[in-house]
Symmetry: D2
Subunit: 400 residues, 4 copies
């Protein structure tokens, strides 16, 4: 029975080896920009010790991996992470025990993009945006990355401002140019977003639009699901399932939202939703790295410790995953097929209500990482050391 | 210049003949159930004179067409409009100057559908649902209708209640069976809905899911866009554009919402949104009947006069259409291409701010309908006559 | 440290006696209508064994109390629970080990209320609504209830339909008449709701409006917070705090929502939100019955077992409460005052992530209730027995 | 009858003199910051000719007044508009035909406010915030302003981050200190906001919270309603009515939103909503300046011309007001009282559908302003002149 007053399925000694193995193998990719300053239009708070360059960001990310054992890659954002020699940066990463991951483009910070990038009515802006993505592909090759991630901030603030349909065609044309430059083992990952920075219409506002573009491009194009990029009330795990079913879920950008694209720590706003998302992943057997879904974080740590924020986010994803792996799938399927509504729900909740922290502590320790990464970080003195060492220069943020 | 203090482009004498012709040719399809009682889970208010059977509903709908000149068809809902002889009902419609339109199925009112219809884990429920749709196709043939409209109320109330992916497969299988029974000149129209009556997950919650099923089925499958079936803040005209671009916008269910699927009169909650939707239609040259988009109403008149509610809804769609037709598209395109954000927006608003009521009154009168349909209805005594004649029997509602 | 790999603060043997005592003393009030059939405007599914009258509803509720040990009262809804002799019903309740609780009025099911009840422009409708509440006060006295709960379905579907301000004045007048009839030890509990059944404007749509009316009435008027009655994204625990601070939180109507007023089981949609709500209650020392807040359920079990749905809801509220009681408040206050954002959040999450089910099982068993109430219910055969005994008659629902 | 095919009540020659007088007397206050650069966290686009200092902002605002005849005051924002000599700035305004209006404080841009301002757990931050407001009162006295407007960005990003209740008490204390410094003819205007920049809980998130603080402070404290600061679906005109009824509507911050606090031009996203808001104002006889409600704009012109954006916003508010003044209130009241739902709605829509642009053009011209302010601005060459004159220096934005 599902609600027994025993400690239940989460007891480390009761957990099947396959679950342990899956958890031990889980990989979460960290965003370099998560270690820089971020904020809102009202204020970006700076914090002592914030990295000044991509090398320092990678060092911070590597620490997160060292502590959690599950964050072996760092995504870069161009031009924020532009360096003279990307192979040097890649070697620096390797030295620190991590590798460089997905390359993120940026077509929202130049004045030329006032009316959009690939969707702009201005041919020069479109050409510039295409070229930027071709340049990013060169970064992929220099860093060893196999995926180019594209989020277009394109959109309209006012009805009538531009022709919605024409903008789709322009985007399709631009994406086709970029896609044509991919090597066979490279991927184009296309993100969508409900609103912001455009307030009337985003040009790629939903998974349907992103998927249509990917289908038109070809098999190497996949959709990125940012958990904060949906309308209020949207059932995100349904979209996860739908994209998996279409064979086009390329990656997650994990973060939390209460209202908009709040970019809080993953699992902070609604841990039950994160669990339901991971439940769809586990149910579809899409957790293992070879399944081809990249589990990435994408967050802004406005007022909290950045490194600790990343650690907690990794742990939150791990906990949601562990709970999803503990779902009794045979019992669940039977309850579902027999129409036992509350029985089926109860089996899911039984896993969610389990305290998996001891299990994960044990698995982390067994991998040589830390049983309690937050406490280990706090006691390491790293934050204080960086605050005293990283003096001078310009702290990394969205602008640099 | 767009904001001149003249009466502007809406003056009947200034309106191009092509605009007049497009408005005169516009066709809006009425829902039979809009003339029956409807309400919320809290209460269904009955009103004197409400039709007791499909023949009386058709008579009321025909009156709306007579007064407005633009509502020549009536959608049926099976089993609410089940009659022994559909050819008799079709002849009755013809006698009243209208024809029967789209056939709507109903798989939400039988106890067998507690866990869903096409998506149910229960094979018998699925088979029953498929058969119901095959029966509806027979109604199409008996009435001369060329389209079967499917809205599945299928969904889950609780996480874990059923397998989201398996339900998609079951739906795909059921739809394929139904689609296989279509004749070459028949259409399957597939609706989507954000929530209600299921509260955790609808099985076809968004345009992306509906479109994926239609693409899998074939060219005769198209998407129905109900204007009230979206998440808060969704840009509906964007979806209109996207479905037109995909060649899969089959029909509208027009109504208004402030919060959920409120089913208020079209144009009542946000007349500017209705205008923006019709603007996409006009911009894509999809207004004319031969363009293949069916402009239907789908409303519940909970506390207001049903016939008057339908009249106003038709007029609201006409007014939005007239404004969309008055947009100066050449000037708009130029402003858009030159990045004149406020100029482009101003051209659109110029059309929206125009008072098109005199123009439409003239067009209606020229067609032999009424310049002021609401006033004509109020003065006709029809409501009072029906209230005194339609005594006894059971008033039509969602249940019968 | 908060994230240690030990089983943590939830271990039954580590839990302070004060926490155990608070949990053992917790009282949750059940709604009689939760045991009857309910549904949406699309369908009300009936289930075998559903009560036919208030006596059978009370019997079912008493079973929930017997199993959980924490649901000693049943709210009534008038006229759904109208009986010839309320003292007989009260005695029946006592015989079953429970008492009758809050009396709920109903001013939404009569044709007279088409334009509203206390807010109606029709004086006769207003007078009828006032009288209904005076009648409900008589039910209070016959049943021993000390509180009259008022939810007004009043509102508008269309802009302009009525004068918003005038409606507030009419409501104020009507409430004043009802309030004047209260005895000194009786309470008027005033609920608010964002939307439904009115779709343009509810007359008491938010806590601010409800509170203004209560402040105008006097100290015996308090606000009811239904957890499903807010706009998307609303921070409900903030309102809990604000009403506690104003001394006017009279009662909860607990249920869950994903989209609207879904009336799902409490804690089913967002268990973290329910925990945050109970955290505010515990922080304000408002949990104990003598603090004056009535913790009531208000749910619709559309497709699931009603009794089991109530049991799970009670357990979900208990679990959220247990977690809230386990928050290390001294450590939390210190982290908050020192601006340790993640430390403070971590202390809260530490309690939320604790598996409190073993603790609650123990406490229930110690009270003579069941360690596992769901399993006990399933094995009791009660559902099957009722299905065979409760044959004939009309099953209770919102209409009767 | 309301829907006659005549040009209707908006014909300039048919409009009552009282309506003309009310429109001619209408005053809208402009935000100085609306003339500086603004944007999102992703990008702030600069435009040629943007003011470099408060004097240039005032000059631009004065041009808007000159063209529209209805914008005689400019709100300042401190420290963005800090100048050595405010009396000089006031004289500069007078020279340009306008006066200085409300003084807006800013407690969101200093590092000290990371945990909040008046609500901060840090006593030094609270003291600094109080002092800033006392300083702003000195600016009021130097500029002749009679109102201090307070928007607190205070809030939490993570559950548990701080004590929600304690923060209310700290805010109450801080506001009391500020209020105590008011002279008898000065006002404290307290704004509320649903979310942003805090993402879990704003400390003053809704009108109820703002009103409770104002009631505690005294008669000189009133609520500011920013039309973009509500949850999705919120009926804003209801709140307008409620605050008027409570005698505490101090001012509007007009702007438009599709999703969040988009700060688009007033009337751009939902002109019908703006009309409904002004309808409540007119119905309550609160339009005239002596009624005490300050009609202010608060917008960000991210990609569009700032001056033209302000002009259009003023015109949009005027148009909504003109339509509200044209509502046939006697007929409306009768339809409302007799329960003629569609008749009443029709009377409101009749006014909304009227093209009031010719009327307003005439009224503006009669005041010596421009019939077509947008066209006049475009032909004036002002934008081009400023672009060539305002070279060097730092363009004004939120940071300076």
């Amino acid at each position: 029975m599902t609600n027994m007053p025993s400690a239940g399925r989460g007891d480390p000694q009761d957990v099947p080896e396959s679950v342990r193995a899956a958890l031990a193998a889980q990989e979460i990719e960290l965003p370099s920009w998560g270690f820089g300053n971020a904020g809102t239009r009202f204020k970006v708070f700076a914090t002592p010790g914030t990295p000044r360059d991509p090398f320092e960001k990678v060092a911070d990310a590597a620490l997160v991996h060292q502590l959690t054992g599950s964050a072996p890659r760092v995504s870069l954002h161009i031009p924020w992470d532009q360096v003279p020699d990307f192979e040097e940066l890649a070697a620096h990463a390797t030295d620190h025990g991590v590798t460089l991951g997905v390359i993120n483009s940026n077509v929202f910070q130049d004045d030329d993009y006032r009316l959009g990038s690939l969707a702009s009515p201005d041919a020069a802006a479109r050409a510039k945006a295409v070229q930027h993505h071709l340049d990013c592909l060169q970064v992929c090759r220099a860093t060893g990355s196999k995926a180019l991630k594209i989020w277009l901030s394109d959109g309209l603030n006012y009805p009538g401002q531009d022709n919605l349909w024409a903008r789709q065609e322009r985007i399709a044309d631009g994406l086709a140019e970029i896609y044509a430059a991919l090597k066979p083992d490279e991927q184009l990952l296309l993100e969508y977003k409900f609103f912001e920075p455009a307030f009337y219409a985003m040009d790629i506002p939903d998974w349907g639009t992103s998927l249509l573009h990917c289908l038109a491009l070809g098999e190497q194009a996949k959709v990125v699901l940012d958990t904060g990029h949906h309308a209020p009330g949207t059932n995100v795990e349904f979209i996860v399932m739908q994209l998996l079913r279409a064979g086009r879920l390329g990656a997650f950008d994990f973060n939390s939202r209460f209202y908009a694209d709040d970019d809080l720590m993953a699992g902070a706003a609604d841990p039950f939703q994160l669990f339901r998302i991971m439940d769809q992943i586990v149910a579809a057997n899409a957790l293992a790295p070879e399944a081809g879904v990249n589990f990435m974080l994408d967050e802004c740590h406005n007022i909290e410790s950045k490194i600790e924020g990343q650690i907690r986010s990794v742990m939150n994803v791990q906990e949601a995953t562990a709970k999803a792996l503990l779902v009794d799938r045979a019992a669940l399927a039977e309850a579902q097929l027999t129409g036992d509504v509350l029985g089926a729900n109860g089996i899911l909740m039984d896993a969610f209500n389990t305290d998996v922290r001891p299990l994960l502590a044990e698995i982390r320790a067994a991998k040589g990482a830390c049983a309690d990464p937050v406490e280990a970080f706090r006691q390491s003195g790293y934050a204080e050391r960086m605050a005293s060492e990283r003096i001078g220069g310009v702290q990394a943020s969205w602008g640099a």
